[in-house]
Structure formats: C-alpha cells, structure tokens
C-alpha cells in the first residue's frame, strides 16, 4: 500500500456520545480510538487504566450497560449511545467511597493501585449478581484480572468485605449511578 492511499491521511472522525457515570459526554474521535483511550484522554477520566492493550490484564475493565468489559478491546465508536460506569462512578453519590472501594481500603486490597480500577468495576458488577459470595467464589470472581502487587489475598478479602458492607447498607445497588 502506498502512502497516498493510507486512510490515515484522511482519517474520518466520528462523534461519540456516551453517558459516563450518569453524565452525558461527547467527543469527536477517529474510529480507531480505543474505548480505554477515549475515556482516559478524550474525556479525561484517567481512573481507567491500561495495562496490556490485549485484553488479558483487566485493568481497563469498565461497565457498559452494567456488564464488565475490557475497554482496551473496544473502539469508542462502537459504543455510541452506551451507558458506561468507570471506577470514578463507583463512589457513593456524595463522593465518599462506595462499598467496594471502602472494602479495598479496609482490607488493604491495593498496593500500587494500577490494577485496582479494573477490580473495583468487576467486583461491583459481580456483587450485583452474587450478593453473598463464598471465599472460593470471591476468588473466582476476580480471576480474570491481574495484580502484580497483592498476591490477591487481600482482594479476595475485599470482595467478601464489600458484600458485607452492601448487605449492611441494604443491597447497595443504588450507589452506582446508571
């Protein structure tokens, strides 16, 4: 392919409108903009992290229409119109730590914090479906996310603790804006 034919020369840009953490947001981006980069750089929501860009580490996990997905394996343009929740949206409406975030603090579920956003979003969605996991289930719930610091033990504890916190507060569902 010669340089003149390269679509990069005349790369089309697309308007992408999404609702992130309850707030409507718009940006105009090329089709190849990954959803992770769109959130981080076009919308300046840098809580979503990028650890591998091939879908293995899980740091970039966000909730799209309530389901956790790898944002590094999606193009933003595919999600025009979607409802997205990022780690920034896992707080309580008053900005205080949400149940999963509190649990991580209580249990020392994070060290460097780089993988943490992907765990927080994944666990938030998991507990919506499985409010009372066992320790084994808690470990399985986080088994698609890599952490290099914690050895996972405190993250497993955090899942169980988050379930307790949510249970103490009612079902805790109302705390994630959708």
């Amino acid at each position: 392919m010669s340089i003149e034919e390269h679509p990069g020369r005349t790369e089309t840009r697309h308007d992408v409108r999404v609702t992130v953490n309850g707030v409507p947001r718009t940006a105009t981006v090329p089709a190849r903009r990954l959803l992770s980069d769109f959130l981080r750089h076009d919308l300046a929501l840098t809580g979503t992290h990028v650890g591998c860009e091939h879908g293995v580490c899980g740091a970039c996990t966000v909730l799209v229409d309530g389901r956790p997905i790898r944002s590094c394996l999606q193009f933003a343009v595919m999600h025009d119109g979607a409802e997205i929740t990022t780690v920034e949206g896992c707080t309580r409406p008053d900005g205080e730590l949400g149940p999963v975030q509190r649990a991580f603090r209580d249990c020392h579920g994070l060290q460097c914090g780089f993988c943490t956003p992907g765990f927080v979003t994944t666990i938030t969605a998991y507990l919506d479906e499985h409010p009372r996991p066992s320790a084994t289930e808690a470990r399985e719930a986080i088994s698609g996310n890599l952490c290099r610091c914690t050895g996972y033990q405190s993250i497993v504890d955090s899942v169980l603790r988050a379930a307790e916190i949510r249970s103490d507060q009612g079902d805790g569902r109302g705390e994630t804006p959708q």
């Binding site: 390269h6 679509p7 990069g8 790369e11 089309t12 697309h14 090329p30 089709a31 190849r32 990954l34 980069d37 860009e53 091939h54 879908g55 899980g58 996990t61 389901r67 956790p68 997905i69 790898r70 590094c72 394996l73 999606q74 193009f75 343009v77 595919m78 994944t122 088994s143 698609g144 996310n145």
Partner: protein
C-alpha cells in the same frame, strides 16, 4: 500498541452488512465482540482498511432453541455473546455441553463481550466452541449479497485461524444440534492458568441404550491439531455399563485418543505430554459424560412413567 486506521461501517441490517462487505472486498473484516480481533489490531498483526461492526444488526443477537422437525438445535446469532448462551436456561437444559465448554472460554469479562459465532469463524485451534460444533455436527449459516449457504463444522474450519468464509460473507448464525437419545456430555481441559487456552481440551458425547450401556461415544479436542479433531471412541467402550464402569474400562478410550491424535509442541507443553493428557482427559470426560447420560436417561424414564 495502537491499531492502524480503518474505515468504520455500522450496518443496521444483514442486507446492509453483506452489501458493505461486498463493497469493501478483501480489505474488510467483520467486527463483533472484538475479543480476538482487537488484540491483533492493537498489535498490528492485522490491519484491515475497513471494519464492519455487526453489533447493531437487527436480529443477530438472538439465542433460540429451534425444533424444525429434523431435530432440535440451539441457534446462536452472530452478535450473541458467550454470556448469553452460557446463562440461557433453556439452552442449558437441552444442550448442557455448551455451558460446560463455555465456562472454559477465557474469563467472564471476555465472555460478556465475545461472541460465539465470532469465536467459530476465528477458528483458533484452541477454541472450545469449534470443537463443540464439530462434536455435535453443527453448522454455520453464511450470508452474502448473492445468497446464503450453510456449512457444517468440518467444512467451516480449513486450518488454524482459517475458514471457508469468503471475504464478502457474514456468518449470521450457528446451529448446535441437540443429540438424540439418552446422551450425556462433559468438557474437561487442562490449561496453564485458569481461563487460558487449553493445553489439551476434550468434549465427550456419550449415548447409552435403555439398559444404560454405552451405545456410542465421540470426542472432540482442542489444541491437539490445526483444526478441531473429532474421534469416535465407541469401539473400546461399546457395551460397558455407563454408570458403573471401572476406570480402566474408560482408559481404553483414552488410549485410543493418545494413539490417534498428533498434537504439536509449543512453549507450554510438548506433543508427548499433550498426547498423554488427551488419554487422561478423554477417560475422565467419557466417564463423566456417561454418568450424565445415565442420569438423564433416568430423568427421561421418570418423566415418561
């Protein structure tokens, strides 16, 4: 690791989708879940000039159980996620093998987005669903502007990551036939980490007769060759008591698998180890499938009396 630029197309109907594919020719690629394609794009191992996003094509996200007279089958549309298939109660009731295998496909987050049909046409030799489709004798419907055709599993995959799809064709649906008779299935695999591609994986379908003796047994394998390998295991296990057979009786099926399969080395395992595993896992899966067949036969009998 950022993908090359591409032109993005988002058809709303199958007709539009196939028209777009026909228009872009060899330089187009269908984008569904993206779980296999986007890593390759990010690493620039692939750089199609056009991506045709089928996620919003009308009617492609359905998972149905259809009985068209020739037998029941589970039909999965091109935009249906693994999760949708895995958690469909009706599918689990008629064809538990799908869930048994899907639980081994990567991790739940990947299954939330990855599509069953996308996995089939990606044709990775380690992909569980291709082996399931092959084991059940299933098929995939391919549409283009010139019409549609149904290709069965053995025709679909022509090599590792290679299929019979033409560039202008869209795989719209997969059909997984529900096996007839008293059947049981099992999927078992060994992977390095939970959720990784299998070092060796096997799905087994056992059919028992009314005396609960093995009538037939078939197995399909992943990571044991360039394409899904299907073996008829009936000969060494025919007639054995499906519910109470000794381990060594099932081991005969395993020996057959070890003898027949010709896996390759890779960085995670040697061919010899894979062959050995195939034997072990075949015996284990066959035994589990047979026990389920017995249980299901019991259920059926119970229901009919």
């Amino acid at each position: 690791m950022k993908p090359s630029a591409f032109a993005y197309h988002r058809p709303g109907t199958v007709d539009e989708a196939v028209a777009t594919l026909a228009g872009v020719g060899d330089d187009g690629k269908v984008l569904a879940g993206g779980q296999s394609l986007v890593p390759m794009l990010n690493m620039r191992l692939a750089a199609p000039a056009h991506l045709v996003d089928v996620n919003r094509v009308d009617g492609l996200d359905e998972v149905r159980v259809v009985d068209d007279g020739a037998g029941a089958s589970v039909r999965v549309g091109a935009a249906a996620r693994h999760t949708d298939v895995e958690h469909d109660a009706e599918v689990a009731a008629v064809l538990p093998l799908l869930r048994q295998a899907l639980e081994h496909v990567a991790h739940p987050t990947i299954r939330n987005r990855g599509t069953t049909v996308g996995s089939l046409v990606h044709a990775d030799p380690a992909a569980e669903l291709n082996a399931v489709l092959a084991l059940l004798g299933g098929s995939v419907t391919l549409r283009s502007t010139t019409g549609s055709r149904v290709v069965n599993a053995s025709e679909l995959v022509t090599g590792p990551m290679q299929t019979c799809l033409r560039p202008d064709e869209l795989a719209t649906e997969a059909a997984f036939p529900v096996p007839q008779g008293h059947t049981g299935t099992a999927w078992t695999e060994v992977s390095r980490r939970a959720g990784d591609y299998a070092v060796c994986g096997v799905g087994v379908l056992v059919t028992v007769d009314d005396e609960l003796r093995v009538r037939s047994a078939r197995a399909a394998y992943v990571s044991m060759g360039p394409v899904p390998e299907v073996l008829d295991l009936t000969e060494p296990v025919a007639g054995i008591a499906a519910g109470g057979a000794r381990p060594d009786e099932w081991a005969a099926a395993g020996r057959l698998a070890t003898a027949r399969l010709e896996p390759d080395d890779d960085i995670h395992a040697t061919a010899a180890y894979r062959g050995h595993l195939a034997g072990v896992l075949t015996a284990r899966a066959a035994r589990a499938a047979a026990e389920r067949a017995v249980a299901r036969a019991g259920d059926t009998t119970g229901a009919s009396t």
